[in-house]
Symmetry: C3
Subunit: 440 residues, 3 copies
């Protein structure tokens, strides 16, 4: 088990290393290369494409962006800023340019962060035709007066936008959503951690002998991708989805973070908090007002899905966020593994979360079933108290998670107890809440 | 605006000064003189009369009380206590008397406050035939043994009880109630502040270009007046009233006070607390158990209207209350203005408090509508986050006030945002909560 | 009254002293002797019997156990452990034995408590054929190597299990349950206190001129007894029971304890907490997870009765629990009386707990009914404020207890007020919550 986990942790970090250098954006070959990489790990992944100009609710699928090279060189021909060294150097969706300009003019197209002089910021211009370069503030300050040659070899033309989708059928029609994004260039926590942890989670789900729920897993460009996906599937998702997680920022070792769904009391929220609490994980509980990823779409009023997020260091809260400092050294195999373990515990908790109802009035006689110590002494009660507590609350109207919370136990212990009691005929399992009326 | 407010503040204090000297009681010329003064400011005010002996629920309209003079003089003919100097000197509803009596006998009819030797207390005997004088404890202690001539030139006879009523029609049939009282003699915070602030609020409501709600404003003698009014109008008021305020003790500069409705969670309560909080007003939150004015009738079980109060120093809580020390020096134009501003904010909040529902699934594309900065940088999100937060909660099931509370904003900012988004077709406005079912 | 209470307190302690020495167990003559003693005090008590082998839900009525003698003696014939000295010396339900054995072999059948060397522990083996002796650790340590003569003159054979039942009819069909147990040998707080306080409560209920509710009082062997009783009566009990208390551990002077029902918000729970609070009793509020007596059956999911417990020192929380140290010196007449008074207050509160609804809109005119001081001065309001507060909340939808809690008063003051107001025609009494619609 420890070895298996070590393998998973190392696999995830290796996959992260592999896809880190790819220059992703909303669309284009970067997204496709990333999806194709994942498809090698998850052969059932279906890669979809939507043509530029297609409508999705209030949005229009943008043109496809391709970039092959970009640089700024001085009059001596020295390349000062080079896309090939770091794909963050070019503002995402920059239009092509090949021009000589004075430093003063060029400066209007430059982005840097004075307080982080070593960091290249990440900037995009998806919905307005423009171009620009991002560079460290150190690089920027070194630019002297004079003329500069500015070249962006990019291409904005009608094409497609891609996303990946994988449906794992379960015994029940009800679904759990996992959503992650694949649209940022070379950044680690706030990009590659999401798809690699999601990939590992899918492998786990595929390995289950028995799968209760159906899992819908999507790898989408953030915002436009989830909007496109919802524009095609929201009706069935609204009918079927009982829980779900946006998987993002799951790579570093510094923190754990919880971002609730809009309403904050969904099954996803209850499961996530139960797992974080019983695993004694110290975490920051954010408000839905702090949201920033695709829960913005999944939880929007007319969609209203029960989606929350468990993260390591949340986007927007760490200085490396949206800069070149969010690189492979910011994440680690143990950071990825920590997130993987919490989210996989949530999935296990979901799978085991039935409504249980006792089959007999009053307490059962555990002794004759070998479930109770025969000799009653002052302390013998403690041994079976969790089992008795479970039975005391199993009225078919609160689920396993809420019983566990009420009796101060964990989903895993309760699942084991419930399974044992069910085998002895003392419990019956229901997928939905009952409002039974008992008549002897 | 500042000048306009200065004028309102000064107007209110001048009106207070004008009506302060009038000797009001439950009925009689004092009430009529006060109503006639207000009618000059609010020509649409209708002055009603109810004849003595009329029934109103459990009550009977008392005889009309008139008083022209009253004094206590000693054997030398020196007037020691004189109604003409302060109308609090006579117990309200005293029957006529003209008699010489020993000091010991007279003393049974005297009221003073040992702990406040300079204050004349305010005492009434509405429902039991009796008479008495109120005087400072200093005056009382100066009375020596001997005979005194006691004269009260009053008159208790069948007549009428008056109250004022003003209905301002709005676009909606639903009503907001403002109720204030006009039955105390010369006291300032606990009497004249109420009618003058209410008068200014009516002038504000009349000046609105568009008025959503219908406003029912009543100037009544406390208790018996509101009971009479409810005995005539409770059926329609119960059908129409969505909110309301008793306007009393709104003149001093010392405090702000909030007295909730009986149930404490009505729209009035939510609005009042929202306004007090977003305007960062330090206030004392009283319990409905501390009630003492006409909310006792409006919130009574079989009436059950959603009426609360925002006050400055609440009745019963300041030493000057119900004494001659609650005079024009106890209130001020700024004190009146503070209350006027909070209550008028509540009315504005009420007018803008719709249920909003987004028109589109997922987030709208704000950029193409000029509602979003085009270039996405690390911090650009902040500028529009309140707008996005508003959209995230606008599901037609929580009102503007609750959205504002949820997203940490104010009714006025949210009203502006909602109006803007509505213009762009991104929100629809509803007067009632929805429980929509979205089907794509 | 004080004398009467003194008598009750002394009666209870005397009864406790009388039944303390009886060797009770689940079944047998000890239970019958105890029930017969109580029947002398409560002639209406019906003593039922259920034959061994009868089924009750998941349980089977065990064989009847009789014991006449038991001892351990050494080779010199000295009796070292003697049942006649303390009936805790024999493990409950021990099978007969008459054998010589080595100390090492005997030791496997001995029970003592090293940390309490002076205490004989209480041990039973109801559902597994076995035998054993309990002794102080001091006694145990004094046993030297050698042979011992072990004798238990007991008898396990088909017989009956007994319990007592008493129904006190009230005006209403709705029932209140009092349940106590009679199955422990010589222990005081955790045995005899329960039946004696229950007996005194029944005498109180019998003495009431008018009884609103029907009372169902049961004296049962713990667990198996309540299960048997429920197997016969749960249908009607589920239909009729509105409240109830398990009466146990009600004899010492050290503490008060409250153990809620499973759901924690039943009428029993509200009443119990109201009484404990208004009588300013310091108590420990336990969780239902700390349960341990027959509420385990009464509150089990398919039974689901609203039963809680008010105790002195709760079972399992004091060192003397389930040992010979829980003897007559551990309880006292004042300890019993304290519990008696709190529980009898609960019963009085239950009897007076109607839903009241005012008969008139607005406040009534109390003055004309002699309910209000005629002269209104600054402070006269205080005298009638509790009455006015009661009227302000009496809308037919919250009960007397909740009104008392809301207005900061007690059930007894509110019951007096309500009775007075009802006499004056100002309130009407309902046994159930209303959801009236007022139309004038």
């Amino acid at each position: 088990m420890v070895n298996k986990n070590k393998n998973i942790a190392e696999d995830m970090y290796r996959w992260a290393t592999d896809i880190f250098p790819i220059c992703r954006s909303l669309s284009g070959s970067g997204v496709r290369d990333t999806l194709n990489y994942i498809k090698k790990l998850l052969p059932d992944l279906v890669i979809h494409e939507v043509v530029s100009g297609s409508k999705a609710f209030d949005w229009v699928v943008p043109d496809e962006w391709e970039i092959t090279d970009a640089y700024i060189s001085d009059e001596a021909g020295t390349v000062l800023v080079d896309f090939k060294q770091n794909n963050l150097h070019v503002v995402g969706y920059s239009e092509p340019v090949d021009i000589w300009m004075e430093k003063e003019e060029l400066d209007k197209h430059l982005h840097s962060i004075p307080e982080q002089p070593e960091a290249i910021p990440y900037v995009t211009t998806y919905y307005k035709r423009d171009w620009g370069f991002c560079l460290t503030h150190k690089q920027r300050k070194a630019l002297t007066s004079g003329k500069y040659h500015v070249v962006i070899k990019s291409n904005l033309k009608s094409g497609v936008l891609n996303y990946g989708e994988l449906i794992l059928k379960g015994k029940e029609d009800k679904e759990v959503l996992l959503s992650t994004y694949i649209c940022h260039p070379s950044m680690a926590n706030n990009e590659v951690s999401g798809p690699v942890v999601t990939t590992a989670l899918v492998q786990l789900l595929q390995s289950l002998e028995e799968r209760r729920y159906t899992y819908r897993i999507v790898f989408v460009p953030e915002t436009i991708g989830s909007i496109i996906y919802l524009s095609k599937h929201s009706k069935e998702m609204r009918e079927k989805t009982i829980a779900g997680f946006v998987v993002t920022c799951v790579g570093d070792d510094n923190n754990y973070s919880f971002l609730p769904s809009r309403k904050g009391d969904s099954l996803s929220d209850r499961i996530a908090q139960h797992v974080l609490n019983v695993e004694k994980i110290k975490y920051t509980h954010y408000s839905f007002l702090d949201r920033g990823s695709d829960e913005r779409q999944y939880c929007s009023p007319l969609i209203d899905l029960p989606i929350c997020s468990i993260m390591r260091s949340k986007y927007g809260t760490y200085p490396e966020y949206h800069t070149s400092l969010d690189d492979l050294s910011f994440i680690s195999s143990s950071g990825l593994m920590g997130a993987y373990q919490v989210i996989s515990s949530c999935l296990k908790a979901l799978e085991s979360n039935y409504y249980y109802k006792v089959t007999l009035p009053c307490e059962p006689q555990l002794g004759k079933r070998g479930l109770y110590p025969m000799l009653s002494t002052r302390n013998s009660g403690n041994e079976v108290s969790t089992m008795m507590d479970f039975l005391a609350y199993a009225d078919g109207n609160i689920d396993l998670i809420d019983i566990a919370n009420t009796i101060g136990s964990s989903y895993s212990i309760c699942a084991e107890i419930a399974s044992n009691l069910e085998k002895h005929g003392l419990l019956e399992k229901h997928t939905r809440q009952l409002n039974y009326i008992f008549r002897k």
